[in-house]
Amino acid sequence: MSILIIADVKNRTINPSTLEMLSAAKKIAKNNTMPIYILIPFGNIGGDSYCSSEFKTFILDLNIEQYSAHVLVKYISSVIREVNASYIIGMHTPFSIDYIPALSVSINAQCITQIHSLDVAERITVTRGSHAGKLDHHIVINDTPIILTVLPGSFEPYTITDVQTQHITTIHIPEVNKHIYCNFITKDMKDTSLDEADVIVGAGKGIGSRENLSLIYEFAKVFPHSAVAGSRIVCDYGWLPYSKQIGITGKSIAPKVYIACAISGSSQHVAGIKGAKTIIAINKDPCAPIFNVSHYAVVADIFEFIPQFIDFVQNNA
């Protein structure tokens, strides 16, 4: 019985959120009775600092440019068997979700994705959003091995205090098809408005049309250092460019205040707003999941509330 964490990758290096999985693993390991292993899927992503006397680290001798879901599944499955892993933990990001569920076929284990919390009692219970975030689904684990993917921002990052590289084992990969070549394309993001803003106003599907965005822009203008962003669907509809998309597949933001306007609050979106100090949600549906992660809730129609708010500020400023 052991726990295997599969490191996540972002910008061709280890995603620091990997440390969040370590916290989840520590919780599962209870009184450190279960050993924890970290698997770094590539040799050239700076995995050397993810090692300590507390756990053993494996690095697959592959380059990130040799990315192939198929190859990773093959070699990670054999590591899982070798360390007799009961809990295999990956990150719920577009990078990792590409191959982690496929492990479940090769090691014959169930995969539970996008968990946001876990409870350790006699048995371990993991929780994920379900029914479009309107319910929580709690899954009691009766049998292992089990594969879990963790929603980013759900656990506090663990701090590795004593980096000790002698605990690293490199796993040699005999031969990888030479035709495998993965090109990484990085868009030049000149737009830094979301990184610099104190207040970000987010628009959701509930704004109804591209024209109604003008109301959101006017609202944002009320605040001195502000920016407008949106949920995935608003970008899919072409109302905002993808550079303004907040969520797992977009940007993660950390402004002083985030104001979600007519955003229901899917877990994919919520994962991108965890860094905001204060979250305010305006939604006419009192049951909108966004209220579960907000500090302040305004149950109101944005078309009624926002114009009145703008008037009020203009008369009181």
Binding site: S104, D143, K256, F291, A297
Partner: protein, 255 residues
């Protein structure tokens, strides 16, 4: 290019975004007025298949859906959009299923008949994001998820998949393969009148299937979502709410 491809699109029917769900003795049930639609991401999968058809690259496009009788509506819509044939893997069990069970049912159906299998990147209701990967693993095919661009070569597909707002990956996949498309690919079409009329006359093939609902390895239950923050609901009339929010924002030093 001489090759013509045999294509399957996996379509899930989901409750629309406004659907009310409540717990009846701990079991989730949707309000009887619930409107069911094609999962938004699967519409993009359908569109991608139809784009290939428009270029004359397909020998046929099939759509398949797993679920109770009502999912035929989603298949009818797929026919209206332009797929050639539709198949319903019918199970009377109306609950949300483990993606492994759904993938097994589709895998059994899809055995060797298809060059490319499309799925949406996830479903809007369950958000598991694993059915495509599982089908690929079960069939022994290669796969890619979150695909935002693809171009066909004779025996391979070059795909681009999205990692975040800033970064994507581009590589080649051999055919056969499974592709889970992301919603930033082509915008789904509205059915043409001629296709709607054609689809009306088409039969939807029904395959009876009993889904294995529990493996016994896990047990599960549902609750209303837990609040992760102490959320203060701002009460009162609209103007009271306006004043109160202004005060809060002022205290937070952003106004």
């Amino acid at each position: 290019m001489e090759n013509k491809f045999r294509i399957l699109v996996c379509v899930k029917q989901v409750p629309d975004a406004n659907a009310l769900v409540y717990l009846n003795d701990g079991i989730p049930e949707y309000d009887e007025k619930t409107v069911y639609v094609i999962n938004r991401y699967d519409e993009y999968a359908l569109e991608e298949a139809l784009q290939l058809k428009d270029c004359g690259l397909t020998s046929y496009i099939h759509a398949v859906s797993v679920g109770p009788h009502r999912v035929q509506k989603a298949l009818r819509r797929s026919l209206e959009m332009g797929v050639d044939e539709a198949f319903c893997i019918q199970s009377d069990d109306d609950r949300l299923h483990n993606p492994y069970v759904i993938a097994q049912a589709i895998t059994q159906f899809a055995q060797q008949n298809y060059d490319i299998i499309f799925t949406g990147v996830m479903s809007e209701d369950a958000m598991n994001q694993q059915t495509g990967q599982l089908i690929a693993a079960m069939l022994g095919y290669k796969h890619a998820t979150g695909v935002t661009e693809l171009s066909l070569n004779n025996t391979t597909i070059t795909i681009t998949r999205e990692l975040d707002a800033q970064e994507s990956q581009m590589y080649e996949l051999p055919i056969p393969c499974v592709i889970s498309v992301q919603s930033s690919i082509h915008k789904p079409r509205y059915p043409s009148l001629s296709n709607v009329l054609r689809a009306r006359k088409q039969e939807i093939a029904i395959i009876k299937h009993d889904l294995i609902t529990s493996t016994g390895k896990t047990k599960s239950y549902f609750t209303m979502p837990q609040k992760t923050t102490q959320c203060q609901f701002i009460e009162g009339s609209i103007s009271q709410k306006v004043t109160e929010l202004y005060t809060i924002l002022h205290k937070n030093a952003v106004l």
